[in-house]
Symmetry: C2
Subunit: 211 residues, 2 copies
DNA sequence: CATAGTAATGTCAGCCGCTGACATTAGTCA
DNA sequence: TGACTAATGTCAGCGGCTGACATTACTATG
């Protein structure tokens, strides 16, 4: 039996939710443009709402904070991250897992290259942005990693410190790779930088007796 | 020849700066008390200023943000951290260094036990607090570690990812130890927990092929 | 010790992020 | 078509934080 209403190829279902998505996208675009042109602190949430042609109240119904608007594409990426983590074999070595997962996010990075650069530049300039990046975005990522790693090691992350330590080291690797990538104006091979930094985790054991 | 004015054993020099320090201390005490009694969000900066018997404007001259008031004792601790890092032999293995440095901060932890517990409890409850802890306090600590480690390894931390990775792993260790300590109501041996977590860093090499 | 200089505080007005409450518009579904 | 409800609009207000200027309180000097 065929689907009773085989109309459109599954766009965001209803017109209502399509409009909602558009409003959200408009707000993010307006924010990106104004942040780019005038700076982060110099742009008010009312400015953004106005440019997106909605009320300020609507902006705050779509985004908890001004920073969340800048990082509005992160929820999607986090879902991809979780899916990628879940898709790997359970007995895979941790570092191999991490490398593979990061590589699997490659096309997302490429799709949002421009926005990633903007986020990185603003985070380097405005404390409110770097603070949000650290405290919310990166912490969410870290949480995903801790869950996945502790499952693989079959340990309780509240007891065994290793999952959180590995996750922390991984986030540091991503951070420094991002910094190098941003410093080069986004021209370098981002994923290459990440893989290099991740590989450094495996060489930490050489450090107990340096030089 | 004797000191011409051998009056007091070197308290904060002038009366002016003594009063300033007292105002700062009063504000921190007022904040701690109100946070304790009524919660963080439920306490306004005006409430705190009032209890400390100064204007709200004065509060913000002493502390950049409301969160900075809660963590007002961290500057002192960070100075101790830096001094401790500098005091260790340059050829000491990194993990030994980290362990020793943490142990050297023991009495400071003990002196501010009550405040540490308050900070941890509030961070577990109020996003604004945990955000500040992550983005400002912990990041400052991490920066100190990166500097010290990169000097010891004689590498540029902008190029070689290892100092930042070790620092990130170390901060994770401190974080999880703090969480365990807080969960136990501050009764556990905090430094023991930290040392245990730090030791786990050295065992990461066993993880490339888990189980 | 009087006085000039200045650090610390007080006062006031105001911006901006963010929220609750209620009204209004616009898809949705019988 | 009409009831239902999700999304938005409107408005008022709180609270963190800041600039500008006045005032107070300590310090240094002749």
């Amino acid at each position: 039996m065929l689907d009773p209403s085989p109309r459109l190829p599954e766009l965001p279902e209803s017109r209502r939710s399509r409009k909602k998505s558009k409003t959200r996208a408009d707000l993010m675009a307006a924010g990106a443009r104004l942040f780019e042109e005038n700076g982060y602190d110099e742009t008010t949430t009312s400015d953004i709402a106005e440019l997106a042609d909605v009320s300020q109240r609507t902006l705050f119904r779509h985004f908890d904070t001004k920073e969340a608007l800048l990082y509005g594409d992160m929820e999607e990426l986090q879902i991809e991250l979780r899916a990628s983590l879940a898709s790997r074999p359970a007995d895979e070595p941790i570092l191999t897992l991490l490398r593979a997962v990061m590589l699997s996010l490659a096309d997302n990075f490429e799709r949002h290259r421009q926005r990633r650069l903007l986020q990185a530049r603003l985070a380097a300039t405005y404390p409110a942005v770097s603070s949000y990046s650290r405290a919310v975005v990166q912490t969410n990522w870290e949480r995903e990693l801790i869950v996945a790693i502790s499952e693989r090691l079959d340990v309780d992350p509240l007891v065994d410190p290793r999952p959180e330590i590995i996750a922390g080291a991984t986030m540091s690797a991503i951070r420094i790779a991002t910094r190098q990538w941003t410093a080069g104006g986004g021209k370098a091979d981002y994923l290459g930088l990440i893989v290099d930094a991740l590989d450094a985790i495996g060489r930490l054991s050489e450090l107990e007796h340096p030089v």
